[in-house]
């Protein structure tokens, strides 16, 4: 198993190196302080953490096993009395204190590239793919949310993406005990969340299930309702790092395959970018942007949600950002003027002159409904494309106070 190889005490360059690099005492070197502590420690003592056991290491198996083989068998620096040259190469860095916090079980082997299926977004309109929808009860949804919300593959999803992904989970009944849901070493295409029943997790040291009575290897963990396994399959096809087997006569899983998951993320990101680009094209201040510059800006926009009746921009505040209205409705009001001076809906924008300077806002913007805006700060704009003045110099921009009451 990869993590064993990677974590083995033998992974110590110095003991293997024939080159005359001064020895660095790695054994007593580190206090591991990373959040991944547990897996390092447990790996070091020979027992594997559940996380690592479930999903671990398969991508490194190849590199790991090569280590200690021919990699260090020959050194061009060996002999020939060029020790001086060699030492000159050694960085002045390490020393015990400098290395604190760095795991000392780093797998030194060559690393294999990984790759998922090629995915190309379909242009809006010609889109023939819609994500699968499998209806679920409110209760099921909230259980599923709880099961994955802390998982880094799901935690960054916006509400819409999250809903689409949860809708796409398909129920998979496991009708008997002792059914292998996934087998160590097999290709992995699905991620599973346990709805009902319990499952045991086995790892065979060879890296794959073997024939015969002990072919599953050692039981390393169990999981039950709310548990999940096989996440790596949502990224690319790596061999399963463990075998998962049902222990109840009847169980239920939710399954999600990689292509569906990645397509949902891709399609929503793609549509969001194209929508922002289209919105930006309508902003006269930015009309002189080249299309790749607009793409860059579209990429840098932050989506923010406001409930109804909240203030996005306060009249009199220094302007620091510009906004595109993605959904909902808002209105501009000015002190001393009764009623709204302008209404905004999808595709409208406001506050764009803040990209030029931090002059006070000339109006307030208040949401009338729930509103989603895309925000771009002046700093972010400058960082990406340089000062907006230079870009404006490409074309005259007519200030239109009527169009833009926020800045004047």
């Amino acid at each position: 198993m990869a993590q064993n190889t990677g974590a083995a005490p033998s992974v110590n360059t110095n003991s293997r190196e024939k080159s005359p690099i001064p020895k660095i005492g790695e054994d007593e070197e580190f206090e591991v302080t990373s959040p991944t502590d547990m897996s390092f420690r447990q790996a070091n003592t020979g027992t594997t953490s559940v996380g690592a056991a479930l999903f671990g290491g398969s991508a490194f198996a190849e590199g790991g096993t090569q280590f200690g083989g021919p990699l260090f068998s020959r050194s061009p620096f060996q002999g020939d009395g060029d020790d001086g040259e060699q030492e000159g190469e050694l960085a002045p860095l390490p020393g015990r204190t400098a290395q604190q916090g760095f795991p000392n079980n780093y797998a030194l082997g060559r690393r294999t590239s990984v790759s998922a299926e090629s995915l190309n977004p379909t242009e809006a309109g010609s889109d023939s793919w819609t994500p699968p929808r499998h209806p679920k009860t409110e209760e099921q949804i909230s259980r599923l949310k709880a099961a994955v919300s802390s998982n880094f593959l799901f935690s960054h999803l916006d509400d819409d993406q999250f809903t689409t992904v949860l809708d796409a989970l398909v129920e998979k009944p496991i009708p008997a005990k002792d059914i292998k849901v996934i087998s160590q070493g097999d290709a992995g295409d699905y991620f599973y969340i346990v709805e009902k029943g319990n499952f045991d997790i086995y790892i065979h040291p060879s890296g794959a299930v073997q024939p015969g009575p002990d072919g599953l290897g050692n039981k390393v963990a169990s999981t039950g309702p709310g548990g999940s396994f096989g996440e790596l399959a949502l990224m690319y096809n790596a061999p399963r790092a463990a075998t998962v087997i049902s222990t109840d006569p009847k169980s239920t899983l939710w399954a999600l395959d990689r292509i569906t998951f990645r397509r949902i993320l891709m399609d929503s990101a793609f549509q969001r970018r194209r929508m922002y680009e289209a919105f930006l094209e309508e902003v006269p201040l930015l009309s002189s942007l080249k299309s790749y510059e607009r793409s860059k800006i579209a990429d840098a926009l932050d989506t923010i949600k406001y409930p109804a009746n909240s203030v996005i921009i306060h009249e009199g505040d220094p302007g620091d950002a510009f906004y595109l209205l993605e959904s909902g409705e808002a209105e501009a009001t000015k002190n001393g003027v009764s009623g709204p001076v302008k209404n905004y809906s999808r595709g409208d924008y406001f506050g764009e002159l803040a990209l030029l300077d931090d002059k006070p806002r000339a109006a307030s913007i208040t949401t009338k409904t729930e509103v989603k805006v895309a925000r771009l700060g002046r700093d972010g704009f400058k960082r990406l494309l340089g000062p907006v003045e230079e870009i404006m110099r490409r074309a005259e921009y007519e200030l239109d106070a009527a169009k833009s009451p926020v800045s004047k």
């Binding site: 999903f55 960085a91 996440e231 993320l265």
Partner: protein, 373 residues
């Protein structure tokens, strides 16, 4: 008819030979050397039987690279690298699109001192072949030197990072190509200690658009690749940050025996530096490894120029590197031009009888996609 074929064949081989001594030209003048460009389009006359396969230089999941020379070549020092991809494997591993991109990218990026030049490509019933000039890179992988020395000095790291920076600049600014698999394993050393970037298996012309297919090497994947939110040229700048870190420290900043924990660390993006790491190095790594590509050095305004003018690269004379007026910090030990002792040993190819078969069905479906070769 057969005589005519024979002539063509001989001419193909002659062209391959003649390329070895063509002068190196400025890659920013892309109109030069039209002859090579044309040859590079694809050779209908070369066959794998024209070559002696001397030794494996590297293997991937679906490709193997051989040190090779032409059979009837008397000068034994004239060697090439021949990359062989089995069509059935390419299809099974769903890499058809990547292989096509690779062929296209390589044909576009000829004439750069730090990129291995594609000489010709050809194909037969079962396999695809790409032939590279190898006359200047017998030093093996930087990876091997790095692991052997554990870590590089700041000076050495700077030298390689500078050459990689120029290579990324060239790929991005001149060709709009994202390389997408930067790591020490893919950087070879030539006889003078300069770098050669190899393996364009994931290179793709993206220009200023985004692309979505996840690919790369776990420790070097950029956060936006993991999130599948669309990625572009900026991924190479992220990887450059990881690479400089690995040069200086001896291991990449985000690592765990479990790949998922690596990805978790990457998207979190919290870098930790040893206290005595040079501040300029810490700074450039922090700027390159910004999790938000809109804030990443190289991708933000100023582009690669901003990278090159960072204090970490202070005192680098870029032209001296580009025109190879200086030698690199590590000079490979070589006994002869075809010396392969700096490359690692690889096991022999698996028995062909157990390999995936390029069936007629596959052929019907995919053969047209391989017609570029």
């Amino acid at each position: 008819m057969s005589l005519h074929k024979h002539d063509l064949h001989a001419r193909g081989k002659q062209l391959v030979e003649s390329l070895r001594h063509s002068p190196r030209s400025n890659p920013f003048l892309i109109t030069e050397r039209q002859d090579e460009k044309q040859l590079c389009i694809s050779s209908r006359t070369l066959r794998v039987n024209d070559f002696v396969l001397i030794k494996t230089l590297g293997t991937g999941t679906f490709a193997r690279v051989w040190l090779t020379r032409l059979k009837d070549q008397k000068d034994k020092s004239k060697v090439y690298a021949l990359k062989i991809l089995r069509k059935a494997d390419v299809i099974k591993l769903k890499q058809v699109e990547h292989v096509r991109n690779e062929r296209k990218a390589l044909a576009a990026v000829l004439d750069h001192p730090f990129i291995t030049n594609l000489v010709a490509s050809f194909s037969d019933e079962k396999s695809l072949y790409m032939l590279f000039k190898l006359d200047y890179c017998p030093g093996g992988e930087i990876f091997s030197y790095l692991r052997r020395q554990r870590r590089f000095s700041e000076e050495t790291s700077r030298f390689y990072a500078a050459e990689i920076t120029m290579t990324i600049e060239f790929l991005h600014d001149i060709h709009g190509i994202a390389y997408r698999d930067l790591k020490p394993e893919n950087i070879l050393l030539d006889a003078d200690g300069h770098i050669k970037l190899v393996d364009f298996g994931f290179a793709k012309q993206v220009d200023n658009r985004e692309t979505y297919t996840l690919c790369g090497t776990p420790e070097y994947l950029a956060p936006e690749v993991i999130h599948n939110s669309g990625h572009g040229l900026a991924v190479d700048w992220w990887a450059l940050g990881i690479l400089i870190y690995e040069f200086l420290i001896g291991q990449p900043p985000f690592w765990d025996s479990n790949p998922l924990r690596i990805y978790e660390q990457i998207v979190e993006g919290r870098l930790r530096f040893p206290a005595n790491m040079p501040p300029a190095a810490q700074n450039i790594i922090s700027l390159l490894c910004k999790t938000n590509p809109s804030e990443r050095l190289g991708h933000i305004s100023g582009g690669s120029t901003r990278v090159k003018s960072h204090p970490f690269f202070q005192n680098v004379i870029w032209d001296d590197l580009f025109y190879r007026r200086v030698k690199g910090p590590i000079l490979p030990r070589l006994s002869h031009p075809a010396d392969t002792s700096n490359f690692e040993e690889y096991p022999d190819p698996p028995d062909a009888r157990h390999a995936n078969i390029y069936t007629d069905d596959l052929k019907k479906k995919y053969e047209a996609l391989f017609s570029d070769f």
